[in-house]
Amino acid sequence: MNLLTLQFLSEIILLSVIFLLIMKKNFSAVSFYSLQSLVVVIILLNSFFETKELLMLLVIFIMFIVKVIIAPLFFIRLIKKYALSFSASTYLSTPITLIIITILVFIAHSQRLLPLTSIVANHQILLSLALSSMFLSLFLIVNRKGALSQIIGILSFENSIVVFAVFANLEQSASLQLGIIFDIFIWIMIASIFISMLYKHFGTLNVSSMKKLKD
C-alpha cells in the first residue's frame, strides 16, 4: 500500500473515534468500533505482506475474530439484553467536545511532539494521525459517562497504539502479539461481565450515578 492509502485508512480510524465521541446511540458506537478494528486489521495485513511472517497472519486472523466479530457481538448482546439503545451522556456539551477534539488533533500534529511523530521520518503524518486517535480515545474514556462507552474508548485507545506501533516500525514478534491479543480477549470478556454486574446492581450504566464508595 502506498502512503496515501495508509493515510486514508488512518483518517478513517481518526474519524471513527470522533464519531464515537459525539454519537448518542450505543449500537452506532459498536459499529464504528468494529469498523475501526477492521481498518486496523487491514493495516496489519499490509504490514504482513512486507514481512511475510506466517505466524503474523495467524495473529491478524485472531485479531479479526476477536476485535471485529466477537467484541462487537458481545456488546450488541449486552445492548439488546439491557435495552441500552442510548449511551449515557457526556460530561461536556457537544460544542465544547468538538472544540477539545480540534485542540487535541492540533496538539498531536504540533512541532512539540515531533520526537514522537518523526520516529520514522516519512511516516510523520501517519504517526500524527495515530497519535491524534490515541488522544481522542483517552478523551472519549474520560468524557463519556456510560460504562460501555468507556470500554469502547479503552479498546479504541489500544487500536490506536497498535496502529502507531505499525507506522513507527515497533511491531513486536508474532508470539508476543498473540499474548497481547489473548489479554485483550480476556479483558473484553471480563469487562462485558462487569457491564452485566453494574447493570444488575445499579440499574444503569451511567457511571456518574454510582456513588456507593463514599464511606
Binding site: 520526537p115 508476543l176 464508595l213
Partner: protein, 481 residues
C-alpha cells in the same frame, strides 16, 4: 528450573481448583502450592545472590537479577502467609454464610492465577511479556475485588479495572517507545538486557517521553498520586488477604518494572531526569496520603493510604539515589511484610466487628487482644517507630535527600510525622475504650494469627540482622540500578 516449577505448580493448582468439587482438596492443594513456591523462591534468591544474575533454561523467557530475586523472595513469602490465612478466613466467611462453596473455589482459582501472573511479571526477561503479565494481574484480581458482589465492591472493581487498564496502556505505549533503539525486524525477542545495551541508540527526548509514559502507566499500578484513586476503593472492598497481596506483592512488582526503565533512561539522559520525576511523585504521594489519613473513617482505607504513603517513601529513596536507593530497597521488603500483618489483622477485625468503619470498632484490646497487639505492632513498624527497621530506612532515605534536596526531605519529614499522628489517633480510637454491645470477647482462630505473628518475627529479625544473601542482593541492586 525453579521458576518453571513454580509457574507449573501454580498453573496446575489453578486447574485442580477449577476441577475440584471438594473444599478440602482446594485448600490443601493451594497451601502446598504456596509452600512449594516459597521454598523455590528462597532457592532462586540464593542462586541470584551467588551468581549476580540467574538465567534459567535458555534465557529466552526468564532472567532474574538481584531486584528480581528480592521480589521473588517477597512474593513467595507473602504468598504463603496469605494463602494460609485465606483458608481459615474463607472458612469463617462460609460459616457466617457470607459466601458459598462456589465463591470460595473461585477465590482460590483466581488467587493462584494472580500469583502466577506476578511471578511471570517479576521474572520475565522480555519487557512486553512483563507487561502482559502485569495486565493479567489486573484481570485476575478484578473479580477478587468484586468478590462480595455488593454494589460498592462492583463499583470499586470497575474503577480498578478501568483506571488500571488506561494506566497499563499508557505504560505499554511508553514500553514501545523504548524499542525505538532496536531494529525489531531482525532482533527477535527483545529482552531487558538488549534494551539496556542498545540504550545509547535511543533519542534522548524520546527516552524522556517514554519514561514519563512508563512512570504514569506502571505508577498507576503502584498507586502513586495522582494515579492512586482506585487504590482505597479496591483495597477496602477486596477480601483482607487480597488487600494484603495488592499492597505487599503487586506494588513492588510494578515498582521493579519502573526501576528497570529508569536504569535504561538514565543511560541515555543521565539520572537527574528520572530522579526528579520520582521525587515529585514521591513527595506528592506522601503529602496527599498523610492529609487524607488524618480524617480516615475506614481502617482498610487507612491501610490503603498507608500503602500510597510508603510507595511515596520508596519513590523518594529511589529518586535520591545512593544510600537512599539502598534504604528504599530495604523499605520495600519491610513494607511488604508489615502490610501482610496489618491487612490480615484488619481481616480479623472485620470478622469480629462486621464493620470496616473506625467509628464502629471500639475496645478491641479487650475483645481480640492478640489481633490488637499485632495491629498495634504493625502500626508502630509501618510508621517508622524505632527500633524497627522502617525507622532506619526512613531515616536513611531522608538523610540521603538532605544533601541535594533538603527542602523535600523536610517536607517529607513533616508529613511522615503527620502520618504517625493520624495512625495513632485512629489506633487509639479503635483499640481502647468500651467494646460495643453484642460483641463477644475472644480472639480469632489460631490460623488467623500465625501468618501475622510469623511476619512480625521476620520483621524484627530483619530489623537487627540481614542475612548475608539478602545483603548481597540489596548491594547488588544498588550497583545495578
Amino acid at each position: 528450573m525453579e521458576i518453571f516449577f513454580i509457574i507449573t505448580t501454580l498453573f496446575i493448582t489453578a486447574i485442580i481448583n477449577l476441577l475440584s468439587k471438594r473444599k478440602v482438596i482446594i485448600e490443601v492443594v493451594s497451601v502446598i502450592s504456596s509452600l512449594v513456591s516459597l521454598i523455590l523462591s528462597v532457592v532462586v534468591a540464593l542462586k541470584v545472590a551467588s551468581t549476580g544474575i540467574y538465567i534459567p533454561g535458555s534465557g529466552r523467557f526468564f532472567s532474574i537479577d538481584a531486584l528480581g530475586g528480592i521480589i521473588v523472595l517477597v512474593l513467595g513469602l507473602v504468598g504463603f502467609a496469605t494463602t494460609i490465612y485465606s483458608v481459615e478466613y474463607l472458612r469463617q466467611e462460609v460459616h457466617k454464610n457470607v459466601i458459598g462453596f462456589t465463591r470460595m473455589k473461585q477465590y482460590f482459582i483466581l488467587l493462584n492465577i494472580f500469583f502466577l501472573a506476578m511471578f511471570l511479571a517479576a521474572t520475565s526477561s522480555n519487557p512486553i511479556f512483563a507487561w502482559i503479565s502485569i495486565e493479567a494481574t489486573t484481570l485476575s484480581t478484578a473479580f477478587l475485588i468484586s468478590f462480595y458482589d455488593k454494589p460498592s465492591a462492583i463499583e470499586g472493581a470497575w474503577k480498578y479495572l478501568i483506571i488500571n487498564s488506561i494506566g497499563l496502556l499508557l505504560g505499554f505505549f511508553g514500553t514501545l517507545l523504548f524499542f525505538t533503539s532496536i531494529d525489531l525486524s531482525s532482533a527477535g525477542l527483545v529482552d531487558w538486557h538488549s534494551l539496556a545495551i542498545n540504550a545509547t541508540h535511543l533519542d534522548p527526548l524520546l527516552a524522556k517521553i517514554a519514561f514519563v509514559f512508563v512512570l504514569i502507566g506502571y505508577g498507576t499500578k503502584v498507586g502513586l498520586v495522582p494515579m492512586h484513586t482506585w487504590k482505597p476503593d479496591a483495597y477496602s472492598k477486596a477480601p483482607a488477604p487480597i488487600g494484603a497481596l495488592l499492597s505487599s506483592a503487586l506494588l513492588p512488582i510494578a515498582f521493579v518494572i519502573i526501576l528497570r526503565y529508569k536504569a535504561i533512561t538514565d543511560m541515555v539522559v543521565g539520572p537527574l531526569f528520572s530522579q526528579r520525576l520520582l521525587i515529585t511523585f514521591g513527595i506528592l504521594s506522601i503529602a496527599v496520603a498523610a492529609l487524607i489519613m488524618f480524617n480516615a473513617k475506614n481502617y482498610k482505607r487507612l491501610l490503603a493510604y498507608s500503602s500510597i504513603e510508603n510507595a511515596g517513601v520508596m519513590a523518594l529513596g529511589f529518586g535520591f539515589g545512593g544510600l537512599g536507593f539502598f534504604a528504599a530497597t530495604l523499605h520495600l521488603i519491610y513494607h511488604s511484610c508489615v502490610k501482610v500483618v496489618l491487612f490480615l489483622s484488619s481481616g480479623n477485625l472485620l470478622l469480629k466487628y462486621n464493620s470496616a468503619k473506625i467509628f464502629n470498632v471500639k475496645g478491641t484490646l479487650k475483645v481480640i487482644p492478640i489481633t490488637s497487639v499485632l495491629f498495634i505492632t504493625g502500626f508502630l513498624i509501618v510508621t517508622g517507630v524505632p527500633p524497627f527497621g522502617m525507622f532506619m530506612t526512613k531515616l536513611y532515605i531522608l538523610s540521603a535527600g538532605m544533601k541535594d534536596y533538603p527542602f523535600v526531605s523536610l517536607i517529607a519529614l513533616f508529613f511522615l510525622s503527620l502520618v504517625f499522628v493520624s495512625f495513632l489517633k485512629h489506633v487509639t480510637a479503635m483499640f481502647f475504650g468500651e467494646k460495643p454491645e453484642g460483641i463477644k470477647k475472644g480472639d480469632n482462630n489460631i490460623w488467623l494469627l500465625i501468618p501475622q505473628i510469623s511476619m512480625v518475627v521476620i520483621i524484627i529479625i530483619l530489623s537487627f540482622y540481614l542475612p548475608p544473601f539478602l545483603k548481597t542482593l540489596i548491594n547488588e541492586v544498588v550497583l545495578q540500578y
